[in-house]
Symmetry: C2
Subunit: 456 residues, 2 copies
Amino acid sequence: MKQLFDYIEANSNAALDELVRFCQQPSISAQDVGMADCAKLVATMFREYGIKAKIFKSSGCRYPFVYGEIAGESTKTLLFYNHYDVQPPEPLEEWTSPPFEPRIAEGKFWARGAADDKGDLIARLAVIDAFRKVRGKLPVTIKFLVEGEEEIVSPSIARFVSEHKDLLKADACITETGAVNWRGQPIMFLGCKGMVYCGLEASGAAQDAHAMLATSVPNPAWRLLWALSCLKDQDENVLVEGFHDDIRNPSMEELTAMMSIADSPEIAQAQDETELKELGLSSFLKGLSGAERRARDIFSPTCNIDGLESGYTGTGPKMIIPRVARARVDFRLLPNQRGKDILEKVRRHLDKNGFKDIAIVEPILLFEPAYTPLDNPFVTLVRDTAREVYKVEPGVVPWAPGSAPTHCFTELGMPVVPAGVFYFGSRPHAPNEHIRISDFIAGMKHIAAIIARFGP
Amino acid sequence: MKQLFDYIEANSNAALDELVRFCQQPSISAQDVGMADCAKLVATMFREYGIKAKIFKSSGCRYPFVYGEIAGESTKTLLFYNHYDVQPPEPLEEWTSPPFEPRIAEGKFWARGAADDKGDLIARLAVIDAFRKVRGKLPVTIKFLVEGEEEIVSPSIARFVSEHKDLLKADACITETGAVNWRGQPIMFLGCKGMVYCGLEASGAAQDAHAMLATSVPNPAWRLLWALSCLKDQDENVLVEGFHDDIRNPSMEELTAMMSIADSPEIAQAQDETELKELGLSSFLKGLSGAERRARDIFSPTCNIDGLESGYTGTGPKMIIPRVARARVDFRLLPNQRGKDILEKVRRHLDKNGFKDIAIVEPILLFEPAYTPLDNPFVTLVRDTAREVYKVEPGVVPWAPGSAPTHCFTELGMPVVPAGVFYFGSRPHAPNEHIRISDFIAGMKHIAAIIARFGP
């Protein structure tokens, strides 16, 4: 490994140059800026690294998938998942330097996409270069799936993966969101919660009516909020009938794993206070704090209102019975809840409570919960190599509080584990996104160690 | 009266010319278009009719009040309430002719403000002209109070009236909203419901938070809708503690009065169907119809949601915990409920139900319910003269389902009754507002008869 690590260190500036090249190309999926050019750039870079590349423009997807493959000496195959799209850079005035003009300063690399997710892809390419230069070959076959729709919630990946099962066949998958926390400990989320996101809509009269008619004209805003009230009570209990049926209790191993990221009570309290200050809150929901809050973030499902809209709330008074009321809600799901089943249960629950008039409308998004068991050998491999590279016990969390298309890969029967180059201060999605160059180098070494250990 | 009526008929074209002049002057209070010029025009016209005029620009009001006074031979005084502002004309493309270019066609006068409320003021001025030309003098002193803020919910009139009690002292008041219904029967609302309108606001984190944090970050949209749910149940019962305490039951006379506007069951059903069709509804609230629905419109208070706003409901998905949630609500009040008292009860009810975090915010508007008793002699006078002019029994309703600043005048101890020139098809607030010229002439005659009968 030493030769590989030495090569990676010696050539880290070349890798950073490649990252400049990648980050200079805007690729804002939400705004359709630079997307086709960026897909082409990924394929071009693949070919420069000896990786066979193909751009898939399937009829259903908005931005193409880029597939890459490079053969290795064993029969084993490792799949890398990345995305080439980035979040919109706005608000631009908060950037110290322009988001698509990468800059190195203070030991950090600043650009939109540096952390999420262009840094990860460049790190992986640099490791392939290292293997080819140092060893002349790769120990395992490497496949890449790079999508352009991650920042618009991956609407096409489930279908793409299911339609290309053979192409994407692999023994394990390394995904994004590998990061080190504030004290330098690499954190691995071994899965993610599922999600159901949908609109709810109540309709009233054909046009807004005068408020004085509220004695006889139905008000869809009332209908909608009464309907929402029957989904969750004031103590945060989800009331949808059957909602909790399929949730399995966390195993002792999963609960114990949480302890691997536990802070001392003093540090946990300081961390709570920092987060509360940033959020502008005096307390967390239900007064929770410390380890109890962190456990709830992982082991509780949610029922959240993302938006409400009805009638008039602008300047000055306007007295009306709105013609329509709209909400957006999302549920975060735990293993073994299923998105489609939950959506059906919500429909049945509304009907049963007298809300047949409330329509479930687009946008409807379903992500299934997905996780790789703690005792999977590939988890052990990634954990062991992380310990060796970072010189600290990695933190392992059964799954993340967020949702991602991880289930597309776990459903193909492979373990999926993150490894990457950013840290908790990287500000993905925010102005002044950046990675630390030391994390970038450590991240490359970790990927190299994973590939080496995974081989024969 | 015959001489007066003949003069009014003979000079109706001159009155319509004056109405052209008045309606040509835009006066859109919501958009601050032409307001100062229109106030000056009212004062100018007053002086042309021998009425002393004064423009009051009080520090607190947005647009001036115009006061007018012309002495009569008796000690009795009649106060006319009018307003010179009009609703915004939008949507302009739906007007057959431009809203501020009055047009006479099909026996109708078309212009923004024709019905609401410039036609009424011109009719009253024409009647004063008739008295002066035919009789040389007025039988009673006439006072005018013309405001410029009616279409922005009269925010200053209560204070203005209470600060000018002596100036406005009168024995009776004729207000606007006098109209004939579809079958030519003049309808008199002897008062109006009161109103409390306010914003409700729930605050969460300092900025929108990621929806995956819903396990620990409070969501103000949930707080707001739970709070709203405790104000009214799904059967339309207002739950605010003490809300109904001061409502007095309608008297037998008030209930009987409703029969004066009753239609035959066939006509009532046809009317329900017409209204439902226009509203695009299949049924009214609680399945009500006919006389039962009309009685509820008059004798029930309301608790209405005018608007809701929180988070994101735009194109595509956005998963957030909104930082703030806002609602607007209005309550329509019955005699003897009081706006301030109801607002305090809402605050106490929210507090008692665990919603101290829900703020009651601007815009806050209070209108007190107000009505003139059915047996007041002035009501009889207006009713009798209406019967004589319109040759049909007028319809009398204890109060209107809507709210108006009527209480400002009833609190000064005078009866307040409407008389006017529009009809149920006049489309006030909508494109192609108009009055029928026959109603304009009948309305002038009715005002003349009221003044004549009120005199010695």
